[in-house]
């Protein structure tokens, strides 16, 4: 799949989703979804609106209880060792989750305390992540005063405070302008390379995906493709990911889903 910077000694996948189904009442949101992310690398989860991406993320993060199937993060079962899973998980949710009336630093320190980090360690980690996100100058500002791009970067800084091995970003670029969107995407890729971290990036925007990225395509609750972005084009006999995606998600019998929000 992707080449790792270091030879992989441990072959346990970072994230394993096995046979997950989920329904809301009569509506089948996910149907026998299985996927596996190798350690390290930038993985994309792609799908039109309503494909089940958010449900899948809510299940992986434990915000929704799974109805059937099994999820494992870094070898730990979510149903049996949920707290061990949460220790390895950093999440940037689609909806903002910052405390607007607290300062940038207070938001980070609060998160650090929820992860049981000691005072000194929390301060060190906090300053480090702020520097990494170029937010030092804003450390004492209220979050309310930050713009959208800065808030997102703060959420990423926060998700990385406890040094997770798996970072999940659920439509993190929603609501940002093109330049900030691109900057954010590149930034996460750099993090990924430098730290050898595994990233799961969900999006419905195709320009955020590079040809060499491993991609999982979700459509009406099912995994319809799971390979490298480039290989998707080869398989579907298309030239661009846009075309490949269009062909995959509009198979005969499937309804074309347009911008439901």
């Amino acid at each position: 799949m992707i080449s790792l910077a270091h030879p992989a000694r441990d072959t346990t996948p970072m994230l394993e989703v096995a046979d997950i189904s989920h329904r809301y009442g009569a509506h089948q949101a996910l149907e026998r979804v299985s996927l596996s992310l190798t350690k390290g690398g930038f993985h994309s989860l792609l799908g039109p609106n309503g494909a089940g991406k958010s449900t899948l993320i809510a299940l992986i993060t434990g915000l929704l209880r799974s109805q059937s199937g099994e999820i494992r993060v870094a070898g730990h079962s979510l149903s049996r060792q949920p707290r061990e899973v949460r220790r390895h998980l950093g999440v940037v949710f689609q909806q903002p989750t910052l405390d607007l009336d607290l300062s940038v630093r207070q938001n980070l320190l609060y998160h650090a305390s929820l992860h049981g980090l000691g005072r000194r360690q929390a301060r060190e980690r906090c300053e480090w992540e702020l520097a990494r996100q170029h937010l030092e100058a804003r450390a004492n500002d209220k979050v309310r005063q930050l713009n959208g791009g800065h808030r997102r970067r703060l959420e990423i800084a926060r998700a990385l405070l406890h040094e997770p091995e798996l970072l999940i970003l659920d439509e993190a670029s929603v609501g940002l302008d093109t330049a900030s969107r691109q900057a954010l995407n590149e930034h996460v890729r750099i993090l990924c390379r430098e730290r050898g971290m595994t990233v799961l990036w969900t999006t419905h925007l195709l320009d955020e995906i590079a040809p060499q990225d491993p991609v999982v395509v979700l459509c009406t609750g099912r995994v319809i493709a799971n390979s490298q972005a480039q290989a998707l084009c080869t398989h579907t006999g298309t030239h661009t990911l846009q075309e490949a995606f269009g062909r995959l998600t509009a198979k005969p019998g499937d309804t074309v889903m347009e911008g439901r929000s």
């Binding site: 809301y24 809510a58 949710f93 989750t97 009336d101 609060y110 305390s113 000691g118 439901r260």
Partner: protein, 271 residues
């Protein structure tokens, strides 16, 4: 996770609760003014109407202001406990509850931290009120202020766990005001906070029955006796039991709902 991790977590949760309280100065102000109004205006007016005979734990005849002071302390605890649970509903709406839910520490512990943090903020308000009341002339035994501390803490925890149960049951912020009207006022008025229970007995047996089973009555009586350096055993047991029961229900319902609302695709389409 080490014991230290739990300590840091508790400090973080209570630090946030405290910062929130300090930032909302109007909240502190209204938390003080409300019971003071009752004490200075309402009690002064009622003093003439309501004669209170000698009764435990008071050794002599007392003025009405002295009688309602413990009830007003508990009123502060009640309002603050509900305010704390309101903040939980708000957190859920605003998404910051997810941050709490992603903590690797155990959820019952997180909830207990929250309850204890809300209770400590309440205690600060109660003692500020008792300080002003002291200056106004309501002076229980000085050591009573010390013996009242554990009683106040227990009652604060009972009321904030009750608040958590409500927060878990309330789906939307808008519904909160209604629930408050149906919870705060009956709890307060159907209790021994404003009038002794035997007065209620004169009013009617079912009213008396309601008052004597009201958790708030037990809280008020526990604080009343503790403020006069006495232990009220039955209210203590009631408060301990109810705190445990509310806490258990809060943990169970919290975990079921997972503290977040997940839009079903059907409702997402509707918007």
């Amino acid at each position: 996770m080490s014991a230290n991790a739990y300590l840091h977590c508790f400090l973080g949760v209570s630090g946030r609760e405290w910062r929130r309280f300090v930032q909302q100065r109007t909240r502190f102000f209204s938390a003080l003014v409300r019971p003071l109004l009752w004490l200075v205006v309402f009690a002064a007016g009622f003093r003439a109407v309501l004669g209170i005979s000698i009764m435990a734990p008071y050794g002599t005849y007392i003025v009405y202001e002295v009688y309602i002071t413990p009830g007003l302390c508990c009123m502060i605890l009640l309002f603050n406990g509900m305010q704390g649970s309101l903040s939980m509903v708000y957190d859920r709406e605003m998404g910051s509850m997810k941050v709490l839910l992603m903590s690797p520490l155990s959820r019952p512990f997180l909830l207990l931290s929250k309850v204890l943090a809300i209770s400590l903020v309440s205690l600060v308000q109660v003692y500020a009120f008792l300080g002003i009341a002291w200056w106004y002339g309501i002076q229980p035994p000085a050591f009573g202020l010390v013996t009242a501390l554990p009683a106040l803490l227990l009652v604060a925890m009972m009321l904030s766990t009750l608040g958590l149960v409500l927060a878990n049951a309330i789906h939307r912020l808008e519904n909160f005001a209604g629930v408050m009207n149906f919870v705060i006022f009956p709890l307060f008025f159907l209790s021994s906070a404003l009038y002794p229970l035997w007065k209620m007995q004169e009013a009617g047996p079912w009213l008396y029955w309601l008052c004597s089973y009201n958790p708030f009555t037990h809280g008020v009586e526990l604080v009343r006796f503790a403020l006069y350096e006495q232990l009220a055993a039955a209210p203590l047991l009631w408060c301990l039991g109810l705190t445990g029961a509310f806490g258990l229900i809060a943990v169970l319902t919290f975990d079921l709902r997972r503290g977040v609302r997940m839009k079903s695709p059907a409702s997402a389409n509707a918007t």
